[in-house]
Amino acid sequence: MPIPKPTRPAKRLLLRDVVFAKLRDAIVSGQLQPGETISESDVESWANASRTPVREAIDRLAAVGLVDVLPQRGTLVAALDPRRASSSFSLLGELLAVSSRIVVPATTVSQRDAVVRRTRSVRSATELIAEDGVFDALVGVIGNPRLRQAWDELVPHVLRTWTLAPEHMPSLDELDLDGLAAAVGDGDGDHAEAVLRRWFDAHDAHPRTVLGARAQETI
């Protein structure tokens, strides 16, 4: 009888990570509104957790700027910060552009197909960067957990701002989705990078230098 292959145990999640993710998602979706007070005891019963993991989760939320812990006043959901969101968005563009350049030429056909299918179904900017979105797939497939961490730190501010203040959400008009799908399908990383950079540049709070500056020509 063949000895059963040991299956890798699912990674156990720390309670504080679970509480962190729940609160983060509630803040990003607007279920918890900017300025709203977060009561630790409410969170304890809501998340069915004890005091320590709740405190630790709130600490982390404060570290990423989603809540403000104020002496005497308790924990408040942070105000919307569109500037922070656009600076984060600008960095997401770089993480994604470099990831595409490096990973697209190396992907297998089935990986490409998965990204192409998702790309063709996109209807909003949120669907691009949200969990399981097109960009998530591209950054995820490269398999660098540290890159993933940077991505996960930057995304919540962007998504939250777009959800609560949709006027900050960039239009998809300038994004050549067909061009991106085609570039990924062909394994052409440089072209995928160029398509992505064009869209991010059109909405970038920290503009890129245009070398060989045609932009400076006056007509």
Binding site: K11, T52, S87, L91, V98, A106, I142, P145, R146, T209
Partner: protein, 228 residues
């Protein structure tokens, strides 16, 4: 767990949690706490002379910087200095430096030229001295001339965290230095000259090498035939 001599000091004006963080950070950087060493709350409480709460705060921050490992059902340990971790952090660092280079190189860089040269010289001197921590700080300071020039506060925050991790990989506490310091030094030299000459492509070429390990690890994971 052999802990260094008492770090308890008068409280001063800093928060206890910051003092706990600094003490642990220094102990890890200097190699007093070695990779893989188990960190127990009770021992840390006795060593630092404070309660559990500020210590837990400090441990969470250290875990987020990748200096220690905390996971459910396992002991908290000082993170191992795996070459993979270094390469992953170098990849992310290169992405942020590429971001800055694409925004700074080709603009008027006279305002940063002096700082860039002074920090390049410091990297050279640090490599001569062989002091790992000094090299790491020198390289960080050099690239921060570029990243701070952009004026993106989120970038500055990300760079600060990744620099903390990279400093550790070069610190004398590591049994093995996984980073080729001569290669780092020549990257800094090339980037310095190219930034001053306004040659973006030369800067980007210098970063390419830092992307190679992630790409190769990707290939080895996904290109191997699946075995059932």
């Amino acid at each position: 767990m052999p802990l260094p001599g008492s770090a308890a000091q008068p409280a001063g004006r800093t928060f206890l949690r910051d003092r706990a963080y600094d003490a642990l950070f220094d102990a890890i950087q200097s190699g007093q706490l070695l990779p893989g060493e188990v960190l127990r709350d009770e021992e840390l409480m006795a060593w630092l002379g404070m309660s559990r709460t500020p210590i837990r705060h400090a441990l969470i921050r250290l875990a987020e910087s990748g200096l220690i490992e905390m996971s459910a059902g396992r002991q908290t340990t000082v993170a191992e200095l795996a070459p993979d971790r270094t390469n992953r952090a170098l990849f992310v660092s290169a992405v942020f430096n590429e971001y800055a280079a694409r925004r700074v190189v080709g603009t008027d860089v006279r305002a940063i030229a002096e700082a860039l040269t002074a920090r390049r010289d410091e990297v050279r001197a640090a490599v001569e001295s062989g002091d790992g921590l000094r090299i790491a700080r020198g390289v960080s300071a050099f690239f921060r001339v570029l990243t701070e020039r952009v004026g993106n506060a989120e970038l500055d925050g990300q760079v600060g965290r990744i620099d903390t991790e990279l400093a550790r990989f070069l610190s004398p506490g590591g049994a093995v230095t996984t980073v080729d310091v001569q290669a780092l030094r020549s990257t800094v030299d090339v980037v310095h000259d190219a930034v001053l000459a306004g040659e973006l492509s030369a800067v980007l070429d210098a970063f390419q090498a830092l992307y190679v390990p992630t790409r190769e690890s990707f290939l080895s994971r996904f290109r191997e035939p699946e075995i059932d």
